[in-house]
């Protein structure tokens, strides 16, 4: 039996317009990615062409620049900085955010709405506006130009997300489970550790990865908080510093290294993130 063609009939002219539009959209989105990848695997001859037009694909694609990158001590130093800061941010954010999310999600607290608004208020301002008071405050409390300062700033930025996603995760656990544990003799702490926390893990994992990514590619706060203090530069700051000084293939390779975790993690937890974000925001 012939299958029914559900597509609407389209004239040839319309079809051309649609396809052209589609290609344009793909070009705009994928263009920079293409350039990035292309430059990172280009040989020198494909970059310094001596007046010739730059080829669409390198003459001799090579991974040599990546090999070089991983022998470069400066690169090592900043990528380790980035990892330290990101992981510490995740740890600190979860440490502060999970209990807060539990309390806000499971208890009737007076002024709950005001507290939630206060928590999210950091994100209501553009980063560039909130960075100045934060820097001033951090200078006063003595964490300016330190790892901890950057970690603290990133924690500040990611806490609202972790709290909101975490609240959603805790709220979605039926109250019966908690009360059943109490009746069986578990105190509140045991109930949290053995029942609520394990059940909230999928949501909290999404929040943790979100936090990692936020910290990993954050620029503005890291920049202002570590001005002139190169030892604590993250990958983004390093890239910013060398953007005019180094050859294009090196810059592109660093950019790829910066983007890769973002892409991989985003694809991995895409489903959780959507579920987590919506369960936190929509009640």
């Amino acid at each position: 039996m012939a299958s029914i063609d559900r597509k609407l009939p389209m004239t040839a002219g319309k079809r051309v317009i649609w396809i052209t539009g589609l290609f344009l959209a793909v070009f705009v989105v994928m263009g920079p990615v293409y350039l990035l990848v292309k430059y990172s695997i280009s040989d020198i001859a494909s970059i310094n062409t001596g007046g010739e037009p730059i080829p669409l694909w390198p003459y001799n694609p090579t991974l040599s620049i990546y090999a070089y990158l991983f022998t470069d001590a400066r690169f090592y130093h900043v990528i380790i900085n980035s990892i330290i800061i990101s992981l510490s941010t995740v740890a600190l954010t979860l440490l502060l955010g999970v209990p807060a999310a539990y309390v806000l999600g499971r208890f009737k607290i007076p002024g709950r709405k005001t507290i939630l608004l206060g928590i999210i208020s950091v994100r209501l301002f553009p980063d560039i506006a909130s960075v100045i008071p934060v820097v001033q405050l951090f200078i006063k409390i003595g964490v300016y130009q330190t790892y901890f300062g950057v970690i603290l700033a990133h924690t500040l930025l990611s806490l609202p997300y972790v709290i909101f996603i975490g609240m959603g995760a805790f709220e979605s656990i039926p109250k019966d489970l908690e009360q059943q544990a109490w009746v069986m003799g578990a105190n509140r702490f045991q109930t949290f550790i053995k029942i609520l926390f394990p059940l909230a893990v999928p949501g909290l994992a999404a929040a943790a990865i979100y936090t990692f990514l936020l910290s990993w590619d954050e620029f503005i706060f890291a920049y202002f908080l570590s001005l002139g203090k190169q030892e604590i530069f993250t990958l983004t700051l390093y890239l910013n510093k060398i953007k005019y000084a180094e050859p294009q293939n090196l810059l592109s390779a660093i950019s790829v290294c910066l983007s890769l975790p973002v892409i991989i993690f985003s694809l991995m937890v895409q489903r959780y993130m959507v579920a987590g974000l919506s369960s936190g925001s929509v009640k």
């Binding site: 109490w182 009746v183 003799g185 045991q190 029942i195 394990p198 059940l199």
Partner: protein, 369 residues
């Protein structure tokens, strides 16, 4: 094992009083049902006993100990929630052992108890499964097992059978009765289903808007409803109710109602000679109205009620007939399926004078109580 004593319990939600001045004494090892329509406070009462709701007034004693301020964790009780509340991230074994682990019971003791309860509730082979991997009936048994291994003084069950289909519910009722006989724990069972309450409990506390209407053996509630509500709620199909007036003279004693004159048996009639002319609420169960064909049951005191058949509902072995008299008053009664009846048939029935229930219209209490 222990007895449970509730003294003038009160529960308030803001200005709404959910439970008012409610007292109950449940014996050690007794199976008691809290039965009532939704919103009557039966689950609230159970949760107060469990310590999940505060006791706003009154006293709770379990096994003679004052329990009011005892946190749930310290109460020697176990509870099965309506939703079963199985921990979804734990296997059946871990679910069952959770309470024992929390209470730091030695390993040997734990495995002995696990074996015992797995045999008692036929859970063999399911120990490593997760709640999502077992059927509704199995979940219900796991929830019960998890409660029983704790050796509770009192076992609280909150509508544990309401999520099961009819056939499973039937088996579960038998199981519960068997387990109660074997374990002997005091059981407080909340339900809105009179069949469950009637078939399992030793006594039923019939509840209505925050108080106990009647607390007695199932049979007694059925045979001698203490209030109009008891009569209405217990029994299926429901009782017929009529407003009437006592008519007592030398010839006959009975009640004049819109459905007809309902004669009383001589024994009870002799007790209420002084009530002539007083208003009364009469309750007649459909089971106690007889079709004229049933001569064997006919007694000389009974008067005939002339009806036209309006509706016939087939109940399987019997049929429920809805009849209407010339005043338009409706009487529901049961006939056997051999009684050939058709809609619009004219017929004559009589109510058994010994079985009609009389209530005071103002106090709503049974006159003969």
């Amino acid at each position: 094992m222990a007895d449970v004593v509730l003294k003038s319990f009160t529960k308030k939600y803001g200005s709404f009083t959910a439970i008012e001045n409610l007292s109950l004494e449940i014996n050690d090892g007794e199976f008691v049902s809290l039965l009532g329509p939704s919103g009557c406070g039966k689950t609230t009462l159970l949760r107060m006993i469990a310590g999940l709701e505060t006791i706003d007034g009154g006293e709770l004693y379990i096994g003679g100990k004052f329990y009011n301020n005892m946190p749930s964790q310290k109460r020697k009780i176990a509870m099965v929630f309506q939703s079963y509340a199985l921990f979804p991230h734990m296997s059946v074994r871990k679910n069952i052992l959770f309470g024992l682990k929390i209470n730091k019971v030695p390993q040997a003791e734990m495995s002995r108890k696990l074996n015992w309860v797995v045999n008692l509730l036929h859970l063999g082979g399911l120990e490593e499964r997760f709640p999502r991997e077992i059927s509704g009936g199995q979940r219900q048994r796991v929830a019960l097992a998890r409660a029983l291994v704790l050796d509770p003084d009192v076992l609280l069950l909150d509508e544990p059978l309401s999520n099961l289909d009819a056939a499973l519910r039937e088996t579960a009722i038998e199981e519960l009765k068997r387990i109660h006989r074997q374990v002997g724990t005091t059981i407080i069972y909340v339900t809105h289903n009179q069949v469950e309450a009637m078939s399992m409990s030793e006594r039923i506390a019939l509840m209505n808007v925050g108080h106990v209407e009647q607390f007695e053996k199932p049979r007694m509630i059925y045979d001698k409803p203490k209030t109009v509500f008891s009569g209405e709620f217990i029994g299926s199909p429901p009782m017929n109710f009529y407003n009437g007036e006592f008519h007592i003279d030398d010839v006959s004693t009975g009640i004049m109602t819109s459905v007809g004159f309902l004669k009383l048996d001589a024994e009870r009639a002799s007790k209420i000679r002084e009530l002539h002319g007083r208003k009364v609420v009469v309750g007649v169960r459909p089971q106690h109205v007889y079709f004229k064909g049933h001569h064997a049951r006919r007694r000389h005191t009974d008067t005939d009620i002339e009806l036209t058949v309006e509706l016939i509902e087939n109940l399987g072995d019997r049929s429920l007939v809805v009849g209407k008299n010339k005043n338009g008053t409706i009487l529901r009664f049961l006939v056997t399926r051999d009684d050939e009846l058709h809609i619009e048939d004219k017929m004559s029935v009589f109510a058994d004078g010994r079985k009609i229930h009389l209530f005071d219209p103002s106090t709503r209490l049974n006159i003969f109580d």
